[in-house]
Symmetry: C2
Subunit: 370 residues, 2 copies
């Protein structure tokens, strides 16, 4: 029932709130990152947790991406069902039933996963043996984000040995993702954080080489830092996801920190309608907390200077409308504060070109949290 429109419709006809994708901007973003990776001689494995759409994943792969990253097994299943043949789960999987699903998926596509625990390696190996499949396993090291991952160096080598010795598993490499650096406003601070990550990764790779466990894949990097990992000479794959859409928070990283984010355009917008206009200086739109995520701040209003989104409740957004420019049923495009969790609220992405709906892409991995 909840499809916002049909192919061929104009923007005005779409039901709102809905997510619209500027296909020209999306394609520019995909082509630019692809060109960067090719120029740098590094693999690009975009993170699909941003779009949760096999359609967009396949576009990225048509531009040379080696596969995609996912965070969850169920997300990876949606990608494989949608035709993606190579998925890295850039995360730990611990539930026995999800380990079994992961191992089965590895019988259908090239599937990798990260580990940071010896017991988890054993459980993963048992699942692979049950499914008679082979799973690529990357040792995740904590390069400063203080989230998942073992310490760089010896701890990583010990875990890699355990992986290499485990039936059904293939030691594939190292993940060193500095997640907490991505949104740091100041470029020099982002650089310092990533420089430390690169040192950690290099140290670990050297220690692995020394025991004959040569990592095939060294993966990390995001939209906020990829030129640093890309130029490091250490990383073999980049995981950037948000660059396809961008969002209001990444805009702030760009404007406050300078390059490199000016390379990408906002391609994802939340289309919203003015549903109430009863007082001077304000208007109410139909996009609230159930249509966009405010974890990284409120959305920006696109191309309407002077109008600001100032308050979100479940199904309402309050707008400051100082010149009373807005009328009932007027439409605005909002730039979401944070693209990934906003996309996760919607079932459809509406692809627009020249003001018309060109495609409707299901958010196939929406809600895929297992």
């Amino acid at each position: 029932m909840n499809i916002p429109g049909e192919i061929g419709m104009s923007l005005e006809e779409l039901l709102t709130p809905c997510l619209v994708v500027d296909l020209d901007a999306l394609e520019r973003n995909i082509a630019r990152m692809a060109a960067y990776a090719i120029g740098q001689g590094v693999g690009l494995r975009p993170h699909a947790k941003t779009h949760k759409s096999p359609d967009i994943a396949l576009l990225q792969m048509a531009h040379g991406a080696v596969g995609v990253c996912c965070q969850k097994v169920s997300e990876a299943e949606a990608m494989v069902r949608g035709g993606v043949g190579d998925v890295l789960i850039a995360n730990q999987v611990v539930h026995p039933r999800m380990l079994d699903r992961l191992a089965r998926l590895a019988g259908e596509a090239a599937v990798g996963v990260c580990v940071d625990d010896a017991g988890n390696v054993d459980a993963l190996s048992a699942a692979a043996r049950r499914a008679r499949s082979v799973i690529d396993v990357l040792v995740e090291i904590d390069v400063g984000a203080a989230r998942c991952g073992v310490a760089p160096g010896n701890d990583a080598v010990a875990l890699a040995k355990r992986v290499a010795d485990a039936p059904g598993l293939r030691f594939a490499g190292v993940q060193g993702y500095q997640g907490s650096a991505q949104h740091v406003r100041e470029f020099s601070r982002r650089r310092a954080l990533v420089d430390k990550a690169i040192r950690d990764v290099r140290l670990t790779v050297e220690a692995l080489d020394a025991v004959g466990l040569v990592p095939r894949v060294i993966t990390g990097g995001g939209t906020g830092t990829y030129p640093l990992e890309g130029a490091s000479g250490v990383y073999t794959e980049l995981q950037c996801g948000s660059y396809v859409f961008m969002d209001a928070d990444y805009q702030r990283v760009c404007s406050e920190g300078g390059r490199p984010l000016d390379a990408f355009d906002n391609s994802l917008f939340l289309l919203t309608t003015i549903m109430s206009k009863t007082r001077s200086g304000r208007a109410v739109c139909d996009a609230g907390l159930k249509a966009h995520s405010v974890d990284s701040g409120l959305p920006a209003v696109h191309e309407h200077h002077g109008i600001r989104y100032i308050q979100a409740s479940d199904e309402h957004g309050v707008l400051e409308d100082p010149d009373d420019a807005l009328r009932l049923r007027d439409r605005l495009k909002l730039i979401p504060g944070h693209c990934d969790p906003t996309v996760n609220l919607h079932d459809w992405l509406v692809g627009l070109r020249d003001g018309r709906v060109e495609c409707l892409w299901p958010v196939a991995a929406r809600g895929a949290v297992f």
Copy 2:
């Protein structure tokens, strides 16, 4: 695919992150609010935007609720398809296609909607005539929340007259919902805001009575303020929604403002699993921004004193674990910061009793934003 478990399973077997409902607590909450409304002689029309579940709506109606509120037409459609026969859309509907869907729905069930604009009344009337149905229409007045609604008094009377004169529409009454009062911490401030709302509503009802437009329904109130509207002698229906589940933010309203919220128990929990434990003092769980909404603050950790949820990323939650009490694959129940948008992230509610899954309720109106 993404069903967290099966009936009969234990808590340990469920896939996480998933929403679990303590059925005993849920039933206590439903019975308590029902008893309050009966005792006060006021109708209870719980807001279904909290649970988005026809199963829970029907439980509420079995305890005497007169129907439910929804915010969106598509949400109301899900309720009617699930067997709910009486729905008030406590909100404005402005898109032509959604007006037509609303008018068709009014041919299948008792359906009401709010208005705050004369042109919208005309569009609603045209839709009702096309569908040959009759829609109950409430005039929404702004009682202080500065969101939707016309001014109390004369403006409301003028709009009510327009409704009463419009073919296909039946003037049903007045909505005066003070949304911005619900989460105010200090009880005396909540009371002052609602006292003002009650005065606005009373003034409007008197003005309507004076012109012979007697409102059958006067609706408003929420979990943070319902005893005030309930005892006012003016309101005929209460719209409370969150009381069925409660959440961490309403807990704060309670603890900082005293009564009346001690009457309800937390019945909704986000079950999460420790997926990484590699450093002292911290642990990482599998519930991030895609499993709960942080718009009203981070979740509280249930029954684990000393452990705090301190940071959310898309698919991770970082926990402070000062005594290193947590182990990989341990499970925690989190109390979501804000129940409504958290439920909207999930496809299933897992009903638990005595540690076993008793029922699996689809979140039938998840994503119903139109």
